[in-house]
């Protein structure tokens, strides 16, 4: 059934594309563009890092997007293949097929898309259909999306569809409406003014058939709501260098596997305040999320079928040891505060030196909610106090100094302190307290040759193999990220197109593992090829606070991307 559907879809899409092409010849325009990605992996067993033999020997993911555009009309097709899915990607992805197709008409006042589409209302707290190929995450809506801009400054959106779930579509029906008014475009006299204001509101409703779910109380079955609504209001105000953004969202009763089938309504608030001028900026963000996991299928417990998106507000670290214990958003409940300051010491000042110095400080703290249990499935679940924090989930402070030492040498030095609650991502043990130091030095040898050195240290009070009592059972901590670590990396970019890098991460105390990596790459225009050999630690790959568990691997990897 599925196979036949796919074939019909493919043929239809092809006919549409062919039709469009032939019409384009008549109209004398239009063009085709696209991109292709191919990733592959060979991995062998290694008991120290926890990797296992891959039965297929070679795993590969591939993807090609083809886009046809002719004036206001565009049509696209995406072919995905997972033969078989690479480590960390769900086995349900196995296969090849057309994963996405659409036809779209876009004019200044009106846009219509039929087929698969991506959309976001405000910050996405009630609706965000998006994809991230590295997370193996795609919750595109398949249906219809209409956007109207009746007058300058006013945007109205309507969407209806079902969400992608691997090669299938979830049975839940998602409908949404959103409106936004930007006063600076609407009111002529405000154009170019120092003051700016945008307000918006959205509503999303999900419909799902009834099913049998038992209540906590024996003999009772839940009376499930078939329609679940969520709404939000938002604003963005600014004056000169100051700006303030806020969004408040509320969700109706939505018992699901994510909240253990409780009937408590959900709510979320996000506030951001910023001041910035040339060479200085400061920004504070706060959020409170309570029972806001919103999926189009109530029994889906994995990473798919999310209708909304609750962004993490911690900084997205990129250095290996700073991102070893990444923070994942807890849509079921959390509170957080984040602050960020950037300052540029001017050239010619004592701290600025000849080239100027950049200072960047960031800090975040995330806690759970302070809750009192009322009951299990079929009840209100819990009560929570609005301004009272629960358990500490995550905290960090990072100080980064970037300085050009000469016309050819640049140094970035970073110090980070992190507190991490291992239970948040399914591990055991006490809070980890980590200190991280990173030195990143770039030396431009000449016009076509650049060397980069990176040295990192992580000191932690966590220990691999330490024993803890979990539910009355003595359990060993098998989180391979624990312990004290050292890392070195040398990267050489030559002839402006090639690069080779060698790195090693070594647990020198209380930890386990020695992760070496060699990689060779080639960049030309919009084409990039990379081949690597080495060991990859098991861990979480996080993008935007959404994470994917990646198992350890030991062997060869390659990746090719190109756009045309």
């Amino acid at each position: 059934m599925k196979k036949r559907n796919n074939r019909i879809v493919l043929l239809t899409a092809l006919c549409v594309a062919a039709g469009a092409v032939s019409q384009a010849q008549v109209l004398g325009g239009g063009h085709v563009s696209g991109n292709v990605q191919l990733d592959g992996q060979i991995s062998k067993a290694d008991s120290v890092i926890g990797s296992t033999n891959v039965a297929e020997k070679l795993l590969s993911n591939m993807r090609a997007d083809v886009l046809y555009t002719n004036g206001a009309i565009s049509a696209g097709l995406r072919i995905e293949g997972y033969l078989n899915p690479m480590l960390g990607f769900d086995a349900k992805y196995k296969g090849v097929g057309v994963a996405n197709y659409f036809v779209s008409y876009q004019r200044e006042r009106l846009s219509i898309t039929a087929g698969n589409f991506y959309e976001q209302f405000g910050n996405g707290m009630i609706l965000r259909a998006y994809e991230d190929r590295y997370l193996g995450m795609d919750n595109a809506l398949r249906g219809l999306s209409v956007t109207g801009r009746p007058v300058n400054g006013v945007t109205l959106k309507g969407v209806i569809g079902k969400q992608r779930c691997y090669w299938d579509y979830g049975r839940g029906l998602v409908r949404g409406l959103d409106g936004e008014v930007s006063f600076n475009s609407l009111i002529k006299s405000l154009e170019g003014s120092k003051f700016h204001a945008t307000v918006g509101a959205g509503f999303v409703s999900k419909y799902e058939e009834d099913e049998t779910v038992n209540a906590e109380q024996p003999g009772y079955k839940l009376n499930l709501p078939l329609n679940v609504g969520a709404g939000s209001v938002r604003m963005d105000l600014g004056y000169g260098g100051f700006s303030l953004q806020a969004e408040y969202a509320r969700k109706g009763q939505d018992p699901s596997i994510m909240n253990s089938y409780i009937y408590r309504p959900g709510e979320a608030l996000m506030v951001n305040a910023t001041y910035s001028q040339r060479g200085f900026s400061a920004n504070v963000q706060a959020k409170r999320v309570d029972n806001m996991s919103f999926k189009s299928v109530r029994s889906e417990s994995g990473q798919m079928l999310y209708i909304n998106y609750i962004p993490a507000i911690t900084k997205q670290h990129t250095y290996a040891f700073l991102s070893m214990f990444p923070y994942a958003t807890q849509a079921t409940g959390e509170m957080g505060l984040q602050g960020d300051v950037m300052y540029k010491f001017k050239k010619g000042t004592a701290l600025g030196g000849k080239y100027g110095t950049d200072l960047h400080i960031n800090s975040a703290i995330i806690t759970g909610l302070d809750t009192t249990r009322v009951g299990g499935a079929g009840t209100y679940g819990y009560n929570s106090k609005w301004l009272k924090c629960g358990d500490l989930y995550y905290g960090d402070v990072t100080v980064e100094v970037a300085k050009k030492l000469s016309s050819a040498v640049k140094l970035t030095a970073t110090y980070g302190y992190q507190v991490f609650n291992p239970e948040v991502d399914g591990h055991i043990g006490n809070l980890h307290h980590n200190n991280v130091v990173v030195c990143d030095l770039t030396w431009k040898v000449n016009k076509k040759n650049v060397l980069r050195f990176e040295g990192e240290w992580l000191g932690s009070d966590s220990k691999y193999g330490e024993k803890f009592m979990v539910g009355g059972v003595e359990t060993e901590n098998h989180d391979r990220r624990c312990g004290d670590w050292l890392m070195g990396l040398v990267e050489y970019n030559f002839l402006s197109k090639w690069f080779v890098s060698v790195s090693d991460q070594y647990a020198y105390r209380d930890g386990i593992g020695n992760y070496y990596n060699v990689s060779l790459g080639y960049n030309y225009g919009a084409t990039r090829l990379q081949i690597g050999y080495g060991k990859q630690r098991e861990g979480l790959l996080c993008i935007g606070g959404v994470c994917r568990q990646v198992p350890a691997s030991n062997g060869l990897t390659f990746s090719l991307t190109t756009s045309f």
Binding site: V32, R107, E108, E119, R133, S182, T318
Partner: protein
């Protein structure tokens, strides 16, 4: 088998495209004051435009935009080029785009592409991905990734475009 064949047909279709790729005009992005605008606002009076896709968390993107900052005034004087920096930051860090750009003293025209519509329309897979667009809105050169010093290569292209000379390393 049939599928593979169809895939090949699709790729062949792509191959026969002869028309020069232009920057799509009707994709919605957000300006720094929170207003939604169409990509047709990306204009530079017939002079070259650099469109750079970046994100606050992307180290090479920041290195590239910071390196260009040092020479941007000269580039503008000599060629009239304008750099348009399109951030793909999502709700997690989108509010930090303006303070990030101000803190780094960037004088670029900056837009937010939170829903990644523009990114998809331009076939951007990874950031940084930089395009050079000529006065007619045609994409004449593109490049992904950044290594220190590569901004000089980019400027060679911009100078040629400003002078109306052909680019050997055409858009692939």
């Amino acid at each position: 088998m049939k599928r593979i064949l169809l895939t090949l047909v699709c790729l062949a279709l792509a191959g026969i495209a002869t028309a020069q790729n232009t920057v799509p005009q009707n994709v919605t992005i957000k300006a720094m004051d929170g207003t939604s605008v169409q990509t047709s606002v990306i204009q530079n009076d017939g002079k070259p435009i650099i469109i750079s896709f970046w994100a606050t968390w992307c180290k090479p993107c920041n290195r590239e935009l910071n390196a260009i900052k040092e020479v941007y005034e000269n580039w503008q004087k000599e060629t009239g080029v304008k750099l348009v920096a399109v951030s793909i930051d999502d709700a997690r860090s989108a509010t930090r785009v303006k303070p990030h750009a101000d803190g780094n003293e960037w004088d670029y025209e900056i837009y937010l592409d939170q829903n990644q519509d523009f990114k998809r329309a331009m076939n951007v897979v990874n950031v940084p991905h930089t395009f050079v667009v000529n006065g007619k809105g045609e994409i004449v050169w593109q490049h992904t990734s950044y290594v220190d010093g590569q901004e000089e290569e980019l400027y060679e292209v911009v100078k040629k475009v400003a002078a109306g000379e052909p680019i050997e390393e055409a858009a692939e």
